[in-house]
Subunit: 139 residues, 2 copies
DNA sequence: AATGCAAATGAGACTTATTCTCATTAAGAC
DNA sequence: GTCTTAATGAGAATAAGTCTCATTTGCATT
């Protein structure tokens, strides 16, 4: 869990307290390979035998977003889903049949986005690129 | 209003009734140059002196999405906003300061998306590309 | 180790966006 | 005009997320 202690350092540096619930949430995110939503995080805490309030999850996520520790994704018509932000930037392809999330990156798309925004007189602060698709079946 | 009658034809073809509220909603969308949300559509109906229920707006939008008459956009943390789908496909750049929505298209980005999805074994059903930015000020 | 203060938490009330229910209305076919 | 059934309005219900406030707990200081 060197990962975990790195998060703890990030919290410290932001002048935030290293509380039990925060440790727990960070541990759950670190150990989850997927993109859980707030309710799932509470469930995973419960599964570990620890009580955790939904309000705390949302509050903590807001804080951790600000410190750059987690990322929030609001996919089409569902609750927001979270993942830790320790990896390089990537976009998402959502499998419409299973709900699975596949990650991908495209420097070329990023560059095109930047160029388009600039042409319109804008500087990009944030962006969202989500593909919704179905597996191609090879019959 | 040739536009309007085109919508009416689309409804007819889908076996849907051409009701007062539906005409009204279509007229409002046709006359609106922006991307109103459901509540705004009700307000604009009221401004015309016609009562219109929020439930009807949402129901109608669902129906019109299915007939390909309108598009729904769920931008970051606000209500869904609607626009008529009679123009060519485009993506959106949202001005973080004013909330303005600027439309743009990029065939190259579209093509890159298709290629990426294919490489991952997926076929794209839908996609979302939103840029959030700020105007570049020339001092 | 004990103290004190501000930050963080939990539980539930509240807000906002959207869908559902059901009694009433009104398209449009005959 | 009548009849059938889809569509509507009004408000209840649901879902996601935020807020309030009394209580707890980090942690800096003794």
């Amino acid at each position: 869990m060197t990962d975990l202690s790195r998060y703890e350092r990030q919290l410290k540096e932001a002048g935030l307290r290293l509380t039990g619930p925060r440790r727990l949430i960070l541990r759950i995110l670190t150990e989850s390979g997927d993109h859980p939503d707030a309710a799932e995080i509470v469930q995973r805490a419960t599964a570990r035998g620890t009580r955790l309030s939904l309000a705390t999850v949302y509050r903590t996520m807001k804080v951790l977003e600000e410190t750059g520790t987690v990322e929030r994704h609001a996919f089409q018509g569902g609750p927001a889903r979270f993942e830790k932000a320790d990896r390089a930037h990537h976009d998402h392809l959502i499998d419409l049949d299973t709900g699975d999330v596949v990650e991908f990156t495209s420097p070329r798309i990023e560059e095109l986005q930047r160029a388009i925004a600039e042409e319109l007189g804008y500087e990009i602060v944030d962006h969202r690129l989500e593909l919704y698709g179905r597996k191609i079946r090879c019959e």
